[in-house]
Symmetry: C2
């Protein structure tokens, strides 16, 4: 058995090596890292801890040769040879011995410039930078292509979950019709707390900040911008057309009322901040918004800081990928797995040649054809005939009621919570605009899309 193994291993090595005379020599692959925060440190850890495995998998010795840092004197959580550190990006970008550049510095302007420079110097690039890829992915992928270089970015969406590979390879033969993603751990943590412990928004945010899950300025997370970047990247890959960030309708969670979370639960729904990419025929729509999903939906049980991407394909049907959406080691795993692919490609001599460029012409779906069910909460005067008035007003805009509950409030007011049948976004907006003129005492307190059902 052991001999068998060795025999097969050697055969494999023989086949993989380009030149027979270097058969016994391990190829040396040199890496430069731009940025040495938590994720950069994680990549350093994995490459050092898993060196044997990486070597067995790639037939190469992978070493980190240079790391761009902000400050040489900063205390680090790993023991590192100070000679590896530099504050000059050119020490990484211009070093002819460096084969692959890992960009984990974040930000857009400098990262874009450095990556472009690396690609022009025929260095392969692995990045975790969703802001950059969502805005300049197409441009940089073209540049990589022109220079015969790999540019991989698995870590930019849903951290440790290999979803980009799943879409690009696992479902390459299928036609993806829908993607729903819990793509931001901070907001999912907050919504889980609101649902499970009845906390209000401000308390949740404070707690998330105390635990380090949310930043001091939480705007990008709670207003849905972070998730929007990720659904734009998923949409581009899944629908083979270049989606730009401004084509994603974005609504965050900052105005969510605890009441809605609890009313939704009564109807059997969980409120999640979903990135949604939908394609029917050739028309696509993309959004990020707090959305109610049925408890029986696989996404409904994704709680805390975890991420998940639900993918529906015409042939494969319903699938879901679940895992950690952020964090040092999960993100570093995605980056290092991309590195392994680059190294294998170097051995095979096929860098920059496996990618499929977007080939579909983009058609965004207009509001008139964007159908959804809605959860609607109204505050009304509790007087006879009010229900009839509401039902009538809805039917004027081709909307109708699927479920309804009325709750008494103080001062002879009442709350009416409705789940509608499917209605177009334009119908919802028109109806919304008409409420006030219909009855000046009636107030639309909130509304959310409801995923699934008729």
């Amino acid at each position: 058995m052991k001999q068998d193994l060795l025999k097969r291993e050697n055969q494999n090595e023989d086949d993989n090596l380009q030149e027979p005379d270097v058969q016994k020599e391990l190829q040396q692959i040199r890496i430069g890292i731009l940025g040495f925060g938590t994720v950069g440190t994680g990549v350093y850890r994995i490459i050092n801890q898993h060196q044997d495995d990486l070597q067995s998998q790639t037939g190469s010795q992978i070493s980190i040769d240079k790391i761009l840092v902000n400050s040489l004197d900063k205390l680090r959580s790993v023991d590192i040879n100070p000679d590896l550190l530099t504050t000059d990006p050119n020490d990484v970008l211009q070093d002819p011995d460096i084969d692959i550049v890992v960009e984990v510095m974040g930000g857009v302007t400098e990262a874009r410039e450095y990556i472009a420079q690396a690609l022009k110097l025929k260095k392969h690039v692995v990045t975790a930078n969703k802001d950059l890829i969502a805005s300049y992915g197409g441009e940089l992928l073209s540049l990589a292509n022109e220079n015969g270089c790999d540019l991989f970015y698995e870590a930019s969406v849903a951290g440790g979950i290999p979803i980009l590979r799943g879409l690009g390879e696992g479902f390459s033969s299928d036609r993806i019709t829908k993607m729903l993603g819990i793509l931001n751990g901070t907001t999912n943590y907050m919504l889980s707390k609101m649902a499970q412990e009845g906390m209000d928004y401000d308390t949740c945010l404070k707690q998330a900040q105390d635990l380090g899950y949310a930043e001091a300025d939480p705007t990008s997370d709670v207003e849905g911008l972070d998730a929007a970047r990720k659904i734009a990247i998923l949409g581009t890959l899944g629908y083979h057309t270049e989606i730009s960030l401004d084509e994603v309708d974005v609504l965050g969670i900052s105005s969510i009322d605890q009441k809605d979370v609890q009313y939704g639960k009564e109807f059997g729904y969980e409120l999640k901040l979903l990135g949604i990419a939908d394609r029917q025929e050739d028309e696509i729509e993309l959004s990020v918004q707090p959305t109610f999903i049925k408890k029986s939906h696989p996404l409904a049980h994704v709680d805390g800081v975890y991420n998940a991407v639900y993918v529906h394909g015409e042939s494969v049907g319903e699938t879901m990928f679940y895992g950690p959406g952020a964090g040092e080691m999960p993100t570093a795993t995605a980056i290092t797995s991309d590195l392994v692919t680059v190294v294998k490609n170097i051995k095979l001599g096929v860098n920059g040649r496996g990618k499929v460029a977007p080939y579909n012409i983009k058609k965004m779906k207009p509001k008139e054809r964007r159908y959804q069910r809605y959860f609607v909460r109204l505050i009304v005067q509790d007087e006879s005939g009010v229900m009839a008035t509401i039902a009538e007003s809805l039917s004027k805009y081709d909307m109708s009621i699927s479920n309804m509950v009325q709750k008494p409030l103080e001062d002879q007011q009442a709350e009416i919570v409705i789940i509608t049948h499917k209605a177009s976004l334009s119908a919802l907006e028109s109806w919304k605009g008409s409420i006030n003129s219909l009855n000046p005492t009636m107030k639309l307190a909130s509304y959310y899309p409801v995923e699934g059902g008729e």
Copy 2:
């Protein structure tokens, strides 16, 4: 935008083509299919329905040229040119124009022979045959390697879920420590019914058979053999060592008592038939057995005929892949995505060179070090001192009680349900053997491992 797209697409094509003078010509890839049951029909459907997409992704025209069938006269659910059908395997295997053979005939002896023959004739192979891969995967992969051919088998584990890609590529840089799989849709459907509707085993089986989820002879599903083959394949890939089927401890669901399912629920657990692959240090253990998992575990909500594989990696942490484990179109999607990879490899000229052969020496973990928590149900005479006797007997074998509940039965008997702390498998077996001599009126009604916790 449109121009940009076209520009990038063309660049990509330029780069991908091997020879400049065939730039405008689409490469023709010819496929032969062995077997034309539901899955074979699914592959035929996808290749015809998604021809445009497949062409855009691979730059090749993929056609099905020959299909091996049992009978030429059988009524088919797809319109098909009768000239494509043959009852002679040599019409597929010996046809020099056929580049790729898809094996979906099932069975082991003939499939093994035909695949070997195809590989020797330098044809790439895609198969969905878990029986074959679990028993002869190593041998056939070596043969593929020797002949510079691809041999892919994504469809053999968990149908439409791209889990083999996830392990082999997505987590290539990580060290997988644990895999837990709901790998058999039939038994998961039955256990879901037992848990949710309180049905007994026989009624569930009958229903599964009526719905076509279970075969007339359900042995392979209900006794865990089907799941064992899949966990052996996952273990081989995840731990980089060749696992053989007889190294998997197998226990099916046929002796499960409805009572245990309900008692487990009272403790907050769901009973699932799990394929388990565990690695600690260098020692591995593999099993298929009905196992209780906490309701908070992501696998606990995988119900009905769905499959899911939970993967824990040293760096990435907890992940899960969920989707349809069987069925015509999901399985066909996995096969056709493998076909896409083969076609891309043909264009790049790298077939048979991307695979990593198993490189770890195999060490199976002995029973003395296989630790688990256990759910144990005992039937006892309800007399004073019985609890002390049980606790004492457990402690003799270094076992201890974490949770316990006592339920009265008729005739002064009682049921005692215990969740233990972690104990070794050898301790459990020794304790089990000692029960009868301890107290002849005491009976061990059932026991199951409990996943997670201390």
